[in-house]
Subunit: 255 residues, 2 copies
Amino acid sequence: MHRPLILVTNDDGITAPGIRNLVEFMNEIGDVTVVAPNSPQSGKGHAITINSTLTFEEINLDGPQRDFSLSGTPVDCVKFALDKILPRRPDLVVSGINHGANSSINVIYSGTMSAAVEAGVEGLPAIGFSLLDFSWDADFTQAKDHIQSIVKKVLENPMPKGIVLNVNIPKLEKEQIKGIRVCKQADAKWEESFDQRVNPHGKTYFWLSGYFNNMDTSPDADEVALADGYISVVPVKFDLTAHEYMNELSEVLKF
Amino acid sequence: MHRPLILVTNDDGITAPGIRNLVEFMNEIGDVTVVAPNSPQSGKGHAITINSTLTFEEINLDGPQRDFSLSGTPVDCVKFALDKILPRRPDLVVSGINHGANSSINVIYSGTMSAAVEAGVEGLPAIGFSLLDFSWDADFTQAKDHIQSIVKKVLENPMPKGIVLNVNIPKLEKEQIKGIRVCKQADAKWEESFDQRVNPHGKTYFWLSGYFNNMDTSPDADEVALADGYISVVPVKFDLTAHEYMNELSEVLKF
């Protein structure tokens, strides 16, 4: 096989330790080009930049890869890389490693996963990686072997059109990780509680806050796999149609 | 049945003609509270505001409804309305009417639909409405009867947990609309081409641009229904798991 061309992006910004580790891991597998946001983009979901403009620059960071910093969202980065930067379609797009979980319903809020989904929409194999540790100095090396194995398997076994992978890694020592489990998205949600404050000028403002509530105890739910010490891998699709409800809905909407 | 409590939001901003029309239509059906962005939020997808703060104010607009303007995304509006504004859980959340289509893959970029999906995550019935006309002075009245019918049907026939509706309305005169068709999300995508320019200071910048490419000619694809003169209704789910691929993926990832 020829040396694969791998596009790397993320949502924590191009200098985040998570993406720098992922770049190192990918440099051992293929030719890497990084196109990533020039600022943190957490929680940006599938946002694109349509009412303002984009700029980019090539920056010099350690390693054989090329690094391009873009003033946009993770999804912008994928679109821009394909249209303006890469010499040909990449063999794989990887996003991450995110500082923090993107399991369960968080897939829809996640810039990391939205970049992977955008690559999937473009017909490319794509994987998003997230570590269950929000800290900037998290240890991303413990899952290196697993990440490289998953990447190689995906390069060797192309996924069906319309499917990308959502990989979450528990915050554990290398020896404590029990393995990989293919999972479904757990049925869970955030319970919001906005934190209300008053600024020095007397105006009330709010911070989005809350806690994550997992209601799903199925053995194949990603939250359960992670709690059990496994790396969770969820095949994610972007045909959002609830095909199974179409017939019933036709009855409901009959006049 | 008691008079339903209806939350209305959108992504074009609280003063957009699309949402003002939707508010008028909903005032005839229930008690309406509007919580919508104070500025245009098109293309924001499922973005949430976590790295900055939110402010809101009640504003006075024509009609019996209450209107609250929030400095956030459409998804923020749904979360904020539920936690801070509404006296009880609403019976329905409607989003739109969007100025422009949200059919096919656009469901994932759309702030309008992301607000509806967020309501679905919260366990509420929700519908996003979009008109295939980008202009500010588009005519939103031609589909009033259909919009009100769909809303009443959904209030009378609760949808299963985890499903919301994506309704797109063709740009046609009232008499030309042939009816409603339940559809799947068409297999289509944007072909990007960034428009490159130079600013007065000599720096290169880009506008995201491109054209929409529908590759799906199935009679039940939403793009086809719209082209045929029908209102398309796609049941949308937010369990993104490709359940049908889980077994095969387990084989692929076996080491």
